[in-house]
């Protein structure tokens, strides 16, 4: 390893450590040098508080496996905690997935009993969801009509921030991410009755789904960002 430029550059910042990685060399060499560099500088982070580490991979694609490997290497030293691994590169697959998740799917029909409508991205439904019918979306759900059936937002599992908005909110069941609530007292915190255009979101403090008027919910959460996509 006689390169004039080091493959891994360590930078100390106020908020932690930044590891800048060379983007042209072989990954194997990178791992080796990372281990050496970290081992050589143990005196820096032997004691004291946990130091957060940011890895900047530049224009190198880091796969999921490699990501785990890098984390493992860094975490093998006490007091080091990986905060983020940044890379400028994404696979086409990831981009397609991301695009599908950000897309708004407009549909105009009634979802009747026994029918299931599930979409990738946000669902914009013009029509009712009848009792026994189900709508689900990986993103948010906006219903211009009455929601009387089941709605599941953030249905790919980690969509805790997803919201469900309906002109008339009378659901039999709501699901946001992994949290399910039935329309009974105690599980859905209904703020007030007879409100038009209500919004359901997951209040992580109480771990329950809360239904509130849209603008009241807006104040509490940064929903304007979510809704601006409309």
């Amino acid at each position: 390893m006689s390169a004039t430029q080091p493959l891994v550059t360590m930078k100390g910042r106020k908020d932690g450590l930044v590891l800048v990685m060379d983007e042209a060399c072989a990954y194997r060499d990178l791992v080796r040098e990372l281990k050496e560099k970290l081992a050589a500088n143990t005196n820096l982070y032997k004691e004291g508080p946990v130091i957060s580490v940011k890895v900047q991979a530049g224009n190198r694609y880091i796969s999921e496996v490699q990501r785990d490997q890098l984390k493992e290497i860094i975490h093998s030293f006490d007091h080091l905690k990986v905060e983020d691994i940044q890379s400028n590169v994404m696979t086409l697959e990831d981009i397609a997935k991301k695009k599908a998740q950000e897309k708004i799917v407009p549909i105009a029909r009634i979802i009747r009993s026994g029918q299931v409508l599930s979409v990738e991205g946000d669902l914009l439904l013009v029509g009712d969801v009848n009792p026994g019918g189900t709508v689900s979306a990986t993103g948010n759900i906006y219903i211009f009509g009455a929601l009387r059936g089941v709605a599941a937002a953030g249905s790919d599992g980690d969509g805790k921030d997803a919201v469900i908005v309906a002109s008339i909110m009378k659901p039999t069941q709501l699901k946001i991410g992994q949290v399910i609530s039935r329309n009974e007292n105690g599980s859905v915190e209904e703020m007030k009755e007879d409100h038009l255009l209500e919004c359901a979101y997951l209040d992580e403090k109480i771990g329950k789904i809360v239904i509130d008027r849209v603008h009241a919910a807006l104040k509490k959460r940064n929903l304007s960002l979510v809704l601006e996509k409309l």
């Binding site: 009747r112 009993s113 009712d128 009848n130 009792p131 026994g132 019918g133 009455a146 009387r148």
Partner: protein, 265 residues
Amino acid sequence: MGEAIVVTSGKGGVGKTTTSANVGTVLALQGKKVCLVDTDIGLRNLDVVMGLENRIIYDLVDVAQGRCKLNQALVKDKRFECLSMLPAAQTTDKTAVKPSEMKKMVDELKSDFDYVIIDCPAGIERGFRNAVAGADHAIVVTTPEISSVRDADRIIGLLEQEKQITPPRLIINRIRQHLLKSGEMLEIDEIMNILAIDLLGIVVDDDGVISSSNKGEPVALNPSSKAAQAYRNIGRRILGETVPLMVLDEKNGFFHRFKSLLGMR
């Protein structure tokens, strides 16, 4: 070329067979050539309600399997020249007929009759698919009960997937005025809100329906019964007339009658 109308509901016991018999009867009363088709193979009832059980020689399955010609299986009504019935078989089950065979039969009937009324069995399986295979229009029957409305909703969803059928129309059956007034029964508006299809008519619960069914005479033949009036209105709406909905909470005072005479209701 006539039209085929399937009468369906999803749930059992809401009055599909009674509705089929009465709608067929009122259309025949208007002078139309009508054929009633019972597709409830294995549990046939339409012949009993029509009082034609003793005239059955061949049935729908015999026609489908080529044991007889279609017009040999048709049973002529004893009261009307223009009303016939194609009975279902009682000895086999729904799998004895394929949807394609049903469609062929209904198409053949449509060339001879003005209206082919198909009585659908309960459920959403083979029997349902047989019944809707040849239909051009659909009537969904529901009662003002939540389970019945739920099933009607399911059925409407399935009918909407059948491209050859025009949007279904609704009959709300067995409305009990005293329960409606006390708010214990689903209101008509509430049902319409959920199902969101055109209303073809409402039929009040009438003791006469049961007694006339048992006698083998459709209630529509007795013009003094309220249910009969409702079925006659439905028949006229099928023929394309505009008939206002029946007033349920009738006030029989002198003043009211006077007002209705003047058309003020």
